[in-house]
């Protein structure tokens, strides 16, 4: 179990921090986006910004799967439990995402008539399959969310249900794709035309890349001339990636580098990709919370498996719902604003009563800043003893 510590050794961190200080060019500014919520969390939890020079700034990207889930999708899940009487199975951190009418899955859980429906927290799609087998007379729906890492397990669950002929199991598919979101950000007017957001490179997600490989990012290096370094979630991984990005920026030689050689290959996991291709196809459009409609950025269940698609089975129609009008999640997820730019931050919007999705998961940038970083917003924040 020692492995957890090895990666957090403060001395090693200081070593990399020293190398970063030596490598940065003083009259340059470096703006890097960590795409993934796992990185956002590590950066905040270990206080990484304190170790970086002033001209290196991290921007939090939209890679927290819970944060990008639009209200309308949560509403669908809530409707399934409350109106269609299904047992809705969801990952834990999705439960608190605010939806319409002041509801969330957690609040709806307290409302459901347990004889008719239920909302249960699970750890994997297998748990949902098990619930379906144990309750043959009830409809069980797995609320499938997440990026490329969580997609293969959902595919396995669908194929298992098909093989076993599980009549009472279906999936509400909300899986989204990483490269599409990155492209969307790079194409956004703030970045592309207005130059409001300087983006000098990306830290790419480790877990996602073990599945899709590093190849999909090559496009960003070639077409958009942005360096990408794929990094693990340990704080040292993140530091190392920042150093590698700085070197690329300095030399002007943009490519995809892989800090996370432990598990990422160029091709990724072919078997997992095949499973996903067998079960899912691209959606033409999908609404992301904060980013709006993003073309070809999400997956839907293939026609062949339509019997296990909750949207088909329960005849669901998606109803988009706008976010709270003062919520700046969208601008924050695109890197245009910082959590403290939102006037709701820390006032009406806190992790205990989130108004927007960025405040929900510990990987969301508003929650990460509130929980780990808000001492920096106060002049006396750096207290003396």
């Amino acid at each position: 179990m020692k492995f957890v510590d090895e990666f957090r050794d403060g001395q090693l961190a200081e070593g990399i921090a020293g190398a970063i200080r030596k490598t940065v060019e003083v009259n340059r500014r470096y703006h890097f986006m960590e795409f993934c919520g796992g990185h956002t969390h590590a950066i905040a939890r270990y206080g990484i910004p304190d170790l970086l020079p002033d001209n290196v700034r991290m921007i939090h990207g939209p890679g927290c799967p819970v944060c990008v889930l639009p209200i309308g999708r949560i509403d669908l899940a809530i409707r399934l439990a409350l109106e269609h009487g299904v047992i809705l199975c969801s990952y834990g951190d999705t439960l608190r995402v605010p939806a319409s009418n002041g509801l969330s899955l957690l609040r709806a859980k307290a409302l459901v008539d347990k004889a008719r429906g239920d909302i249960r927290m699970i750890y994997s799609p297998n748990d949902a399959l098990k619930i379906a087998r144990e309750n043959p007379s009830r409809q069980v729906v797995f609320f499938a969310i997440g990026f490329e890492t969580t997609t293969p397990p959902t595919a396995v669950a669908l194929l298992t249900a098909e093989r076993e002929g599980l009549q009472n199991f279906s999936v509400l598919c909300c899986h989204v794709l990483t490269p599409a979101a990155i492209t969307h950000i790079l194409d956004s007017p703030e970045v592309r035309d207005l130059g409001l957001v300087a983006l000098d490179g990306f830290i790419g997600p480790a877990h996602v890349s073990t599945v899709i490989g590093s190849q999909p990012y090559e496009f960003f290096a070639e077409e958009y001339r942005k360096p990408v370094v794929i990094a693990g979630f340990e704080p040292l991984d993140v530091m190392q990636a920042i150093l590698m990005l700085i070197r690329q920026v300095n030399t002007g030689n943009y490519r995809v580098e892989n800090e996370f050689t432990r598990a990422v290959t160029r091709e990724g996991n072919r078997k997992a990709q095949a499973l996903v291709a067998e079960c899912f196809e691209l959606r033409k459009q999908f609404e992301w919370r904060g980013l709006g409609e993003v073309p070809y950025s999400a997956l839907k269940i293939r026609e062949r498996l339509a019997a296990f698609d909750a949207e088909t089975r329960f005849n669901l129609t998606y109803q988009p719902v706008p976010d709270h009008k003062s919520c700046e999640c969208g601008a924050i997820l695109r890197g245009v604003k910082h959590p403290t730019d939102c006037k709701l931050f820390g006032m009406v919007c806190t992790p205990d009563s989130p108004m927007g999705s960025c405040m929900v998961s510990s990987e969301g940038c508003c929650a990460a800043h509130y929980t780990y970083g808000r001492h920096k917003d106060h002049p006396q924040g750096h207290a003396t003893s």
Partner: protein
């Protein structure tokens, strides 16, 4: 006259039924053959509506705690022992000597009497070990589906000698913060059972009575400001309470905080922060900085404090922030937990 024959309680296969809370003979039998048999003492034996307690020198401290835990039995303890330790510790950290407890049981219809017997025996053992008596009690039975096996509420009374004041408001800038041992053991013992996390060796709860440890500190010459036991919400919640109460800030040193590798790994796996995880046998001590080395010595000399450490310092901070110097060299806030602990998905 011959007394009516009644079949003894079937402690092997019997189950709680509604009559056990009905106030009739069945309830009397449950009290006699199960509760009184294990918990019996001369005060409980008064058998009146209330128990008359002998008068004491000093002020009285009273505290109450309700216990709901699933699973009821876990590595390192069970709900019975936990319900004694929880209340004994709340009284002890005030600087008082805990003397008496009351125990209220809410039983669910259908609950196995064998399990109840095991729980009450464990309570009796825990009370003996902590040197307290259970002097009054109550039992109610709820229909099946309306409880979770058994809920236990205990209330404790202890005596506080004059001159001792250990309020959370006492912390002052410059004071040292100590902990008596590793954090997160209880919460992760429970959670790893619930989530079926298999480890080579199971994580064991730290459930234990702290009154002999607090007594040792009080008997020494240490300039104590306050003591607390960081239960629900973990170290983070308790330190935030202290900061709020005393109007100070706190800075922790992550590398000094003792934590078992298995607990840390389980937290990592479930995406939880060990600072938010419950403890049931750990003591936080805040004392004058000069006294910190002797406090550490007293703690380490006690079997429950062998891994004690100085983990932080009280700071002057009008924002009342609890912050931590991370092992990594950065600084971050240590906040209250928001809502319930919900594991992250990836």
């Amino acid at each position: 006259m011959k007394s009516d024959y009644s079949r003894p309680l079937d402690l092997k296969h019997g189950r709680v039924d509604l009559s056990h809370g009905g106030g009739g003979r069945a309830m009397q039998q449950l009290i006699r053959e199960l509760f009184a048999r294990h918990l019996g003492n001369e005060l409980l034996a008064q058998s009146n509506d209330g128990t008359v307690l002998p008068s004491q020198q000093g002020r009285l401290v009273m505290s109450t705690d309700s216990h709901v835990v699933a699973p009821l039995f876990f590595p390192g303890g069970d709900i019975g022992a936990l319900s004694v330790h929880g209340t004994v510790n709340d009284v002890a950290v005030m600087g008082a000597t805990p003397l008496w407890l009351s125990a209220g049981f809410i039983l669910e219809e259908g609950f196995p009497l064998a399990d109840l017997d095991r729980i009450v025996r464990s309570m009796a053992e825990a009370a003996r070990h902590a040197g307290v008596q259970i002097v009054t009690g109550d039992t109610k039975v709820v229909e099946q589906g309306k409880g979770d096996g058994v809920f236990i509420t205990t209330t404790g009374i202890g005596v506080l000698p004059d001159g001792i004041d250990l309020s959370g408001a006492n912390a002052r800038p410059g004071d040292a913060v100590l902990i008596s041992g590793s954090i997160g053991d209880h919460g992760m013992a429970i959670m790893s059972q619930r989530e079926n996390l298999a480890f080579d060796a199971p994580i064991v709860s730290d459930s234990a009575p702290l009154n002999s440890l607090t007594a040792a500190l009080l008997a020494s010459q240490i300039e104590l400001r306050l003591m607390r036991d960081p239960t629900r919400g973990g170290l983070a919640a308790t330190l935030n309470e202290i900061a709020t109460q005393a109007g100070v800030g706190i800075t922790l040193f992550e590398s000094a905080i003792p934590i078992k590798p298995a607990v840390e790994a389980a937290c990592e796996l479930l995406g939880l922060d060990p600072l938010n995880i419950a403890n049931e046998g750990k003591l936080i001590v805040v004392c004058a900085a000069d006294s910190a080395p002797s406090a550490l010595e007293v703690l380490r000399a006690h079997p429950l404090g062998r891994e004690a450490a100085i983990i932080g310092t009280i700071t002057a901070d009008p924002n009342r922030f609890v912050q931590m110097q991370t092992r990594f060299g950065g600084r971050r806030m240590v906040d209250w937990l928001s809502g319930e602990q919900l594991p992250r998905i990836c």
